[in-house]
Symmetry: C2
């Protein structure tokens, strides 16, 4: 049977993915600096081997034959997802892949040097090469999938999402945020004047912060027989579903960054740990793309953790782990004031949940024009500034390092990735709304530290569905409606009274 | 060029070895328990892929063609070592490999259950299967290499060593030890009566023991940009030469086990870190087998660390890290009395350097008879007992769990491995002797914590030679003579005055 051959192939591909995931986490967490060269060589050789095995021409025959075999419904779904990935892997000629890899590698390496100095002049020609190759790639992916060129790029990170769906949603969100943000900032200023932020009474030793994070992770449902928490320079959630490697980083002056990093990654981790364990070597049982993954981390971070009920439960936990004297006289409002600060800024990764979508929409709009050849690298500083002025009232003409040079994505050749972040935030709010209709006392449960019913809803509606359908389909099935920005807007209006 | 094809192949094989080494270390050090199944699946798939790639029939042609190409001396050595390993990998029919793997896996699994209960009856038939397949394997390996059957097994772990060389050496050593041991024990008894062991003034917190171990490792020459120290249930040295993963374990009642574990593994680590960095993906630049590796760990543990000069340097280090009050009134002799205790016992892994070789020689003699079909599994309890009575004066007839059931090697199908341990001890003493002729003030240097000249000798004579020649050849070149047990015997007589 050809399905059996594909099954054996998937076991091998899965074994390599397992190795690469653990090696990647180890590199960021444990590896001594001198191990880097050998690790990079090993990872790139494994990736090349895996790609070669996964894109061999005879696999096309196996897929075709398997489609005519007597399959269970689950096997059919698995075969479809495998075929979709096979088309993605094989629709680019080897020569383009080589040129694209070389161009992106050169541009990313240059970017690492040029960004600190804001040296746009050096970056621009290499970035233009990357953009032109991305256009070529988008055209070929479009031809292979029947999607529009930019949609074909998005589809790699968020299967099923298209401009047709995203454009009106982002447009409504943009118009809301540009009017909401100034009012919310004004209201926050007044609140802070009336009730000044209580200073954090650090230092908070790393070991105590770690114990606090572990306690919160455990309560949120993280399974420590299938995962662990370490420290790395940038927090991440890596590893594999049966062995999740999560990290955070600590600042002894404030517990907030370390704890929020821990809990954001816990959201990713719960998704991974909740994926189906059966047939885990087939790709339809992997997590459903970047946008859905981000919806799971933001569900925990934005919907649960930055809420009032959460701190009703967690304020005593803070006092227990970090010392009750540090929180003498603190109310839940005092913590909320610290964790829900909004602020306009230049940098996407430092943005709060109100301003973040504006950073993303800006990039989404520019990417459409870059891929559509309406914009070239040389136009980016001005185009960037125009949108930053319009959306956030910030001028970036003299700040190119913190403008179009701030992210690694474009130098690395990643186009179509950015919208995922905000799609995740929107879906998280929409999922919360749908969950609360089934678990009406969800907020009250959170205030008692009871996350079981909430996780049950997520397991049934999101985690167990893995990659069994497109992102829009899973969202529709889970919430009863297509992507709807109203839930996110209502969430912001409630959290940040303006 | 066919050499170029082999070079590319070696890069791929090396990348998989790198992954397996790091995954293996991670499993023992960091992996949460629920990750075991997925990790085992990944590792066995990687091993199968590597074996398939490394034993493909067309490689035989590449080797033959490359032998006729214009090669540098280093390339010639690399090709020879690769060809040797290729013959080893391909000389068994696939069916025998399958039967052998299945039989050993079943026997090892049963052994894990049967050993604690001393259930020899259940183990015996499965062990007999394993032995019969080992005889079959030995015959085929003998035919492929021109070696005697048992030599062909030894050759996998210690390339170049043979019974013709080992038999007279072990015979002389056995006759020395059986007469020396009772006298040495008697003398020790008298010493302990005259100078009672000072009690260890614990507890010794793990963090302090770790800092002590790190300080000693660094002084001994361990390179922390290319390695690290962690904790695991059994100490080991794993990872890869540019990223060595070393472990120990700690007992808060005594610092000795943790420190000795650390320093034994440091010996292995220095060898790995001292291997050639150029062409590291070719097998002739890997460490030269089990016996040579053990000689490097025992050089550090037995020749350096358990010596008087070492503690002249290290006693102040102990006091600095573990607290000076714990060593108030201690002399170097007091530490030496603790670290150099000899004792007859049933268990090989618990044995000291005087009794250990007797445990090994017993196994070496039995293995010869097992592979030579002069002995079957059912004969082992009596044959074991007869030798234990003769060599150590211990009866094991009622102690089968601590007799022929104590080691995993035979159930796992590993025959020819045991002699490596004692060959390593002998070679370490012989290397020390040769080194001291070149560095006459080596002992004095050690008493000052200066290991540089000693390491230089080892780098030049052992580490840099990697697998460029057989074990006996490297030993001969380094010491000017073939394997000679006199150095080890002199070492014991000096350390344990009888």
């Amino acid at each position: 049977m050809s399905l059996e051959k594909l099954d054996q192939l998937n076991r091998k591909l899965h074994a390599i993915s397992h190795a690469m995931a653990i090696l990647g986490a180890d590199e960021a967490i444990h590896m001594p600096p001198g191990g880097g060269k050998g690790r990079a060589d090993s990872l790139s050789a494994l990736a090349a081997m895996q790609h070669e095995m996964a894109s061999a021409p005879h696999i096309a025959d196996w897929i075709e034959e398997a489609e005519n075999e007597d399959l269970t419904p689950d096997q059919t779904i698995g075969l479809e997802e495998f075929a979709r990935l096979y088309r993605q892997r094989t629709c680019l000629p080897a020569d383009l892949v080589r040129r694209k890899t070389a161009s992106a590698m050169a541009c990313e390496q240059l970017w690492r040097q040029a960004r600190p100095e804001g040296d746009w002049k050096s970056l621009q020609p290499l970035l233009q090469d990357v953009i032109e190759l991305a256009r070529e790639e988008a055209g070929l992916r479009a031809a292979a999938t029947g999607l529009a060129p930019y949609d074909a790029l998005i589809d790699q990170y968020d299967p099923g999402s298209t401009m047709a769906e995203i454009d009106p949603v982002f447009s409504r969100l943009k118009s809301f945020l540009t009017s909401f943000l100034p009012r919310a900032l004004e209201a926050q200023k007044k609140r802070h004047a009336d009730h000044p932020l209580k200073p954090l009474a650090g230092p908070f030793p790393v070991e105590k912060q770690r114990a606090l994070g572990l306690a919160a992770m455990e309560q949120l449902g993280f399974d420590f027989t299938h995962g662990r928490l370490d420290i790395s320079h940038h927090p991440f959630c890596g590893g594999v579903p049966t062995d999740v490697r999560m990290t955070t980083r600590y600042d002894t002056d404030s517990f907030i960054q370390g704890l929020m990093g821990t809990l954001h990654e816990t959201g990713h981790a719960l998704y991974e740990q909740g994926l189906p364990r059966q047939q885990a070597h087939w790709p339809h049982n992997l997590a459903r793309g970047m946008a859905m993954h981000e919806s799971q981390s933001l569900f925990v971070e934005m919907q649960i953790v930055r809420s009032r009920p959460f701190w009703q439960w967690a304020l005593p936990l803070l006092a227990r782990h970090l010392g009750s004297s540090a929180f003498e006289g603190w109310s839940v409002e005092d913590v909320l004031a610290h964790v829900n600060i909004i602020e306009k800024g230049y940098i996407r990764v430092d943005a709060d949940e109100v301003t973040y979508p504006l950073h993303v929409i800006l990039r989404y709009e520019l990417e459409q024009d870059l891929i559509g050849a309406k914009l070239d690298a040389r136009d980016l500083p001005e185009a960037w500034n125009a949108k930053m002025e319009e959306y956030l009232g910030l001028n970036t003409l003299d700040k190119v390092a913190d403008g179009p040079m701030q992210d690694v994505h474009w130098p690395a050749g990643l186009f179509g990735y950015f919208p995922s972040y905000t799609l995740g935030a929107l879906m998280a709010a929409q999922q919360w709304n749908a969950m609360e209709r089934k678990v009406p006392d969800a907020a009250e449960r959170i205030s008692r530290g009871d996350f079981a019913a909430i996780n049950d809803w997520r397991r049934d509606n999101i985690w167990s569905r893995a990659s069994h359908a497109t992102t829009p389909r899973i969202l529709q099935d889970a919430t009863g409606e297509p992507l709807n920005p109203d839930h996110f807007i209502a969430h912001l209006e409630k959290r940040y009274p303006a």
